[in-house]
Symmetry: C2
Subunit: 409 residues, 2 copies
């Protein structure tokens, strides 16, 4: 008898009718002989409704009280789903984050899970009940309600699966799995049967927003097999595990991209130790996150050019800060571009195969796409190109690496 | 520095604007040098919204899950009110029933408070914070969320006031106090400055629905001075305390009435021990609550007539049961009337003054109002009359006992 933790997001439980459909799906899994723990989000729209109530009252709601408010969203869903299960003759019991002691740190609105007391859940499972747990929320050591930040329900599900040593953690969403790339950009994009944790992390952080990064990290750390499935359609979805012998032997698993990038460059900085720190320190102090960083020595050998990318929303502020820094450092010029995108090839197969990067550059060159920046890691090659080339670039690469066809081992 | 517990009901916090008005009112009290604990209900309409969500999913929601659902209503209000206070520079902190350990029994939907751990509230007060507590809800010894039933927020407020040994518990409602009778029936009805717990209990149970009976009992038991005030207007409201020297020396404090009564009579029952039990036992087994009970010996001395009143909703069912019982007992006849009302004079002054009842009967006789039943207690005289005489009777009595004028000591 397998133990499964399932997570249903806000869209999946967005109306009473959908809650009923979810209840029926859960009962199917239970009737197949599984013990089932369910983690749910707030009904879609509910979090926004609560937030707008809060902002009517104050511009910046106190984080502690915002958590008290937002936590009601999932609490409503767990009660309703438990009722729907019981109405169908399926014994069920709901728990808030606090009730199952999802202990977090005290960082309101973005808390991290420290520990889960799975005792109560286990004894309900042993009694034959389906256990319904509120996602996204926990409690700190002083009993204050905390939330994990948007999308934190995925993390709750994985953490519960780890604590319960579940056989699988299933994340039900509005897509039926992880694709080789976004099907809205490349209609030939193909659903992957399997993908590794590392690849999934690169895919997620690069803009394929199927799963919360933290949830994937957590699943990888505790080796919880994670499956992404559709709430609305039947199907096997995509299983995220560690690499194993039975896995597809693809060089590249997928193509991720990110439209929200902006590029900032400072030219002609006198080259001396500590340049990177002097440039990026003020950026970090302004709470701007930096993604790619590239530094070149200029042709004269005495100065250096320094380029980095940030989220597009931070572009203006980043430029202002960089201009000040450049003046202080005696740099010759500052430039920037907010109309760039990042395209990345991701695949564990890269580790053992050379030539991936050169095929990528060749493919883009054939389409006359100018590469503005390049960054590589062990299982990823990223390029920055002009915004207008995004679709063209993704499609060309998808074809070049034959991602529309399943790899033969 | 006084310690006040204030309770604001659903109408008082029904919109963000009203929550802001409540926040300003609280700050006024605090600025007058009081320490303030606030108990709030769900925003008006919210409980009904949640209930209708539940009944979409199942006819009879499981009581445990219903409590999980309904408890979100007050949780939303405490967060919003705390935000509104903080936005105005007033340090505040919210707590759910579980967080301040409002320990109840496990009777979901109608739990009773067993204990409150006031420690946390006290330390917040000492730190200069306003403490905002969710009314209506608690937690049982197993950590399950419970609710006290509709109107239970009053009880939460009184229980907190008792646990904190507060100087006063203030219940803010949509009326500005307790009146000598319903002003919609008698325009000359007058707000009472003071009333005793016992009188208030009789007034409340007889249909003046200003306060929850349980809250008044609780306040009386723990001697918590209770004040009923308007959320929307300035004023002193009505203070409910034990009788003391300074109190108005009125014979009668008020006139309560109840429109929801129905009368059932069984005639010619052979008079023998256990008659009352044989008649009322089946009624009680059907969960029908009985209010007044009267038994007379019939003129023949061998049979007895037995009359009792029930809620009008229970009239049909009560008649059916009584008919069966009457047959089994060999009674001669069963009759009933669902169009009766009860009018009651209430006042601790009655204890030491004879003649109240006879003035009452004389007043009604002058208006040709036929009295169908009479029942008396130490501080109350109740009569049952035909429904059509309600307004006439109440007004005549209000005038006869000069309730429009404050009593002179």
């Amino acid at each position: 008898m397998a133990l499964i933790v399932q997570k249903y997001g806000g869209t999946s439980v967005g109306t009473p009718e959908r809650i009923q459909a979810v209840a029926e799906k859960i009962i199917q899994y239970r009737d197949q002989g599984n013990r089932v723990v369910v983690v749910v989000s707030a009904m879609s729209g509910e979090t926004d409704r609560l937030l707008s109530l809060a902002t009517t009252l104050c511009e910046r709601p106190m984080p502690r009280e915002l958590d008290v408010l937002l936590a009601t969203g999932e609490q409503t869903t767990i009660a309703l789903l438990s009722m729907a299960l019981q109405e169908r003759g399926c014994a069920a019991r709901s728990y808030t984050g606090a009730q199952v002691h999802i202990l977090t740190d005290g960082a309101h609105n973005k808390a991290r899970i420290l520990d889960i007391d799975a005792h109560r859940v286990s004894s309900d499972l042993a009694a034959g009940r389906v256990v319904v747990v509120a996602g996204f929320q926990g409690v700190d050591e002083n009993g204050n309600i905390t939330t994990l930040g948007r999308g934190g329900s995925d993390t709750t599900a994985v953490a519960l699966a780890a604590a319960l040593k579940a056989d699988e953690c299933q994340i039900f969403t509005d897509v039926d799995g992880v694709y080789t790339t976004d099907p809205r950009v490349e209609p030939d994009a193909r659903r992957l049967e399997r993908i590794t944790f590392e690849e999934m992390l690169e895919m997620a952080s690069l803009g394929s927003k199927v799963l919360q990064i933290r949830a994937v990290e957590f699943a990888g750390k505790y080796n919880v097999p994670l499956r992404v499935l559709s709430s609305f359609e039947q199907g096997e979805g995509t299983l995220i595990t560690y690499e194993d012998e039975g896995m597809e032997k693809a060089l590249i698993s997928g193509i991720a991209f990110n439209r929200d990038e902006a590029k900032l460059t400072v030219l002609g900085v006198p080259d001396q130790p500590g340049v990177a720190h002097r440039i990026l320190g003020p950026i970090a102090n302004a709470n701007i996150e930096v993604d790619m960083i590239i530094q070149n020595i200029a042709p004269d050998g005495k100065t250096t050019d320094f380029t980095f990318t940030v989220h597009r929303n931070d572009y203006q502020r980043g430029m202002e800060i960089l201009q000040q820094t450049a003046e202080q450092m005696g740099a010759s010029q500052v430039s920037g571009d907010a109309r760039i995108v990042k395209i990345s090839l991701v695949g564990v197969g890269m580790r053992s195969h050379a030539g991936i990067a050169s095929t990528m550059f060749e493919t883009l060159a054939k389409e006359s796409i100018n590469i503005r920046m390049i960054s590589t890691s062990e299982i990823k090659v990223s390029v920055v190109v002009d915004e207008k080339y995004l679709e063209l670039g993704v499609r060309a690469l998808h074809q070049a690496f034959q991602l529309d066809q399943a790899a033969t081992a």
